[in-house]
């Protein structure tokens, strides 16, 4: 019973931890621009992240290797190094956007000056990561992020046209502006399949000493955690569609996203939305912070671990401190966190094949995986998604430029 309880708690934390600033920005903006038409893309993205997370978790459980161990061993030093550089750049952009998001939420909640709050946010994050055991970090931010469920209530309260919502789950293109539609589709896929999630997930599996006995837990975590996380994405898009579509409002700030809960639910809705966004984005900051340090440590072979004390993995510790300071300074330049989020998601799409191809190769390698190599379902999905990812990666930047970052 205790074990089931533990799993349930873990899943709750995963739901709260699924949504980051990329999901918030792209889902609400997609809703505001195309109503519910792009809901089907979220489904594709969620199945994609489930497929590859399950694969990464399985590789970690069977071979005790995290993603970047596998990347370097499998594609070699040079391609691995290029992948590392791409991953670190995207990761730093994402981290900067998330920290900017934390500061914006704090500002909306407190009214204090933005730049002061950036520094405060970075200091508090550093102290939390330094002194708090990671199990507690996961719980605190995961449960806090559950406040985002207010968007699910808001989505219902806004009385959307459920027929149109249902139609949104059927793949279709029903617009004159196909380029813009394509841009949002790519952004939604990128936001759902952000690579830092698999770096983080697989490293955690290695640290927690998963073995083949944990493969069931791995599958459950991936399917239920990301699946229910996807449910929040639907809610965000429905709110965006019901509230902003056709009103000429571009929800280009986190404040306007939070308004999505305020309009139907009042002050309490706004407060819950802001707290939910704050915890979700702060939790994602910590995840990206660790992901950047994991990738470097695994590529170079030095000691790492979020469950180790700071002195137990010195270069790993130094790496995340440096990343945090760089991100803090980058936010201080006054860069628009929401714009940066769009850049980060689109660039992460370009880096996706570099991450997911080695995982697919390793998960198929009998020498590593023995009887636990990919079965037919994992391979069909894995290859299908790799093709989707490659097409999306090739078209992401041209679409971003052609649509002027989704401004049409």
């Amino acid at each position: 019973m205790n074990k089931i309880f533990g799993v349930a708690l873990g899943i709750l934390a995963a739901i709260g931890g699924f949504v980051d600033i990329g999901d918030l920005v792209f889902n609400v903006a997609a809703g505001a621009t195309f109503g519910y038409q792009l809901l089907w893309v979220v489904v594709i993205g969620v199945v994609g992240i489930i497929t590859y997370s399950e694969m990464c978790g399985r590789v970690s459980a069977v071979s005790q290797k995290a993603v970047f161990d596998a990347v370097r061993e499998r594609v070699g030093f040079k391609a691995g190094l290029i992948t590392l550089i791409a991953a670190e750049i995207v990761n730093a952009m994402t981290l900067t956007a998330e920290i900017g998001g934390v500061a914006i939420c704090l500002q909306l909640l407190s009214g204090l000056p933005y730049r002061l709050l950036i520094v405060l946010a970075a200091i508090v994050l550093a102290i939390v990561v330094w002194i708090v055991n990671f199990d507690w970090i996961e719980r605190i931010f995961g449960y806090g992020g559950l406040c985002l469920l207010v968007f699910a209530v808001a989505a219902v309260k806004l009385h959307p046209d459920w027929g149109a919502v249902g139609h949104g789950f059927v793949p279709h293109v029903d617009t004159g502006n196909k380029l813009l539609y394509g841009y949002f589709a790519i952004g939604l896929l990128g936001a759902a399949m952000t690579p830092y999630e698999v770096y983080f997930y697989s490293s955690g599996a290695v640290e927690e000493g998963w073995t083949v006995k944990d493969l069931g837990l791995n599958r459950l975590n991936a399917i239920v955690g990301y699946g229910l996380g996807g449910f929040l994405s639907f809610a965000l898009m429905i709110v965006g569609g019901a509230l902003f579509l056709g009103k000429g409002i571009d929800p280009a700030t986190l404040g306007s996203i939070a308004m999505g809960a305020e309009v139907p639910l009042g002050q309490i809705g706004l407060l819950l939305a802001l707290i939910g966004i704050l915890f979700a984005v702060a939790g994602a900051s910590i995840d990206t912070l660790f992901s950047g340090a994991y990738d470097l440590a695994q590529f170079c072979g030095f000691e790492w671990g979020r469950h180790k004390s700071p002195a137990g993995a010195p270069r790993f510790t130094l790496t995340w401190i440096v990343l945090l300071i760089l991100a803090m300074l980058a936010v201080m330049t006054g860069v628009d966190a929401v714009k940066l989020t769009e850049f980060a998601v689109i660039f992460s799409v370009v880096a996706l094949p570099l991450t997911y191809l080695p995982i697919l190769l390793v998960a198929n390698d009998k020498a590593y995986m023995g009887n636990y190599a990919n079965g037919r379902l994992a391979n069909v999905l894995g290859i299908l998604y790799l093709v989707i990812i490659m097409i999306v990666a090739l078209t992401a930047i041209p679409l971003m430029l052609l649509t002027n970052l989704g401004q049409g």
Partner: protein
């Protein structure tokens, strides 16, 4: 140890662990001896950013320059086991591995809570 391993996939670029299981670098390159017509033999594992210079053109040289590390040569006889990782017979310090972490640790330890 299994009878045969594929050097490219089963050894090169794998994680090194010392006898206590500490992560102390990757197999950055292999020293292989044997003239034409003779059986080739792995005689040592090469570790450290200095080795990267020869592995990835100019990007490798930049990475080596940024990481500023030297090169450590571990005789093949020091390898205890090759499985998912490559385990060595002695501690990292005895080979001069993991020095970056060892040099940095005293500074990290000055901050309270570093051993939580």
């Amino acid at each position: 140890m299994s009878e045969s391993i594929d050097l490219g996939l089963g050894l090169l670029d794998h994680q090194l662990l010392d006898k206590d299981g500490r992560r102390c670098g990757n197999v950055d390159d292999l020293a292989i001896e044997g003239g034409p017509g003779e059986p080739a033999e792995v005689v040592a594992i090469l570790v450290g950013p200095d080795v990267w210079r020869e592995r990835a053109g100019w990007i490798g040289r930049i990475a080596a320059w940024v990481a500023r590390g030297g090169r450590v040569r571990i005789p093949w006889g020091e390898v205890a086991e090759v499985s998912a990782h490559v385990q060595l017979k002695k501690t990292a310090a005895e080979y001069g591995l993991g020095r970056g972490d060892d040099r940095l640790r005293p500074y990290i330890e000055k901050i309270p809570g570093s051993h939580r």
